[in-house]
Symmetry: C2
Subunit: 234 residues, 2 copies
């Protein structure tokens, strides 16, 4: 089994998270690094979706992953083994979310992002994906400094979730609906789900996928690639 | 559609939550009221499980329900319509968990629990069920004052969850594994799941059910009835 770097994240002391997040985004812009904040409930398929997505993009852009978890490192190892991209684990020590300062600690732990290495800017990833703690409540309240927010809602969780977790859906630029292969076995109404998502956020892009079979993942990968290119060229 | 009472929960000011929780448990003991704290991820089937369980117990004991949610009241209405028992909604205003003081605010909103009403002690419920906010992280950190903690893990979430959310599994007296009807469509290893749960908490009772069809719910209802009787008679 591969070893991955583990960063123990310290509770941040900054009071003004919004300002810290804006500063971090500014820094990332200067360095040409796109940061995606990926959120979801536990068990919705974040890691599998990431593996599928990274394998579609890794020959086009440089990618690195930060896996936030309370105390295991299984996800970072899984990503590294399945994709070969740089992947580190952030331990939150029981904390239920990451804020901008904590995200910055993670980026500093990633090689090549915050500082120039021997390869200079060439070593920097174009895209860093932060897999946030599995939780639909707290991560929505803290701007991580990411350029875009994405969330995964899986079919077994039900189409009513945008009614119950309004903030999460309102801050996400893209909502990936995963596990569409099991639609026949659940009372999940895709049209109602889209309607509820757009009630919270009319501009949200909704992409149904099945991370297990790969169905729909091309569309999400394409969305992400376009966003990364826009961020780097503007 | 029925109307239900909605309580806007205020952030609690008590610093010592553990003491407040012990005090609340003491009060409940004196009054002969059993409080169950039910936790899970979003969409694991808490409300459906409750409806099935209550319908098996409501002719034997008096039951009331407090539904915690960020801002909707769909669950409290659903419970009231499907079971007829008293059901109120607690709005947490974005907060990701309930602590003992917040739980007490809810109990004060329920008729007959905190004060004697015209019927005296006869009006008091034997069992109050608190459906906590859908979240595997924060609710585990705050003792609500409940007599027992229960959680629901649903099959689509995966059998590895006890590895990733250790505290939640370690504080639960019973783990209900829901949605076993979809076991054929997911890579869920029931034996591994039980093993991981018992790694976190060797004494946890594990009960596989399907809330949709009712399979296994008798066993959970029986567990709960025994606990309520023990609490009231000791």
């Amino acid at each position: 089994m591969e070893n991955v770097k583990i960063i123990e994240i310290k509770k941040s002391v900054f009071e003004n998270n919004d300002r810290a997040a804006d500063e971090l985004r500014g820094e990332l812009k200067t360095k040409g690094v796109f940061l995606l904040n990926l959120m979801s409930s536990p068990g919705s398929g974040k890691t599998t979706t990431l593996i599928q997505t990274i394998n579609r993009l890794k020959d086009k852009i440089r990618i690195a992953v930060m896996e936030a978890d309370i105390d295991s490192d299984v996800d970072a190892i899984k990503i590294k083994e399945a994709t070969g991209v740089e992947s580190i684990q952030l331990h939150t020590g029981g904390m239920c979310h990451l804020d901008a300062e904590m995200t910055k600690q993670g980026l500093e732990g990633l090689n090549n992002v915050q500082r120039d290495n021997v390869q200079g800017t060439k070593g920097r990833p174009d895209l860093v994906i932060l897999e946030n703690v599995g939780n639909l409540v707290c991560p929505a309240e803290f701007d991580t400094g990411a350029v875009k927010n994405a969330m995964i809602l899986s079919v077994p969780e039900g189409h009513d979730k945008p009614l119950k977790y309004p903030l999460m859906f309102s801050i996400c630029d893209v909502v990936v609906i995963n596990k569409i292969d099991v639609l026949p076995y659940f009372d999940f109404d895709m049209e109602k789900c889209k309607e509820y998502i757009h009630m919270r956020n009319p501009k949200a892009t909704v992409i149904p996928i099945c991370a297990k079979t790969g169905e729909g993942v091309d569309i999400f990968a394409e969305w992400l690639l376009t966003e990364v290119k826009n961020w780097k060229s503007i």
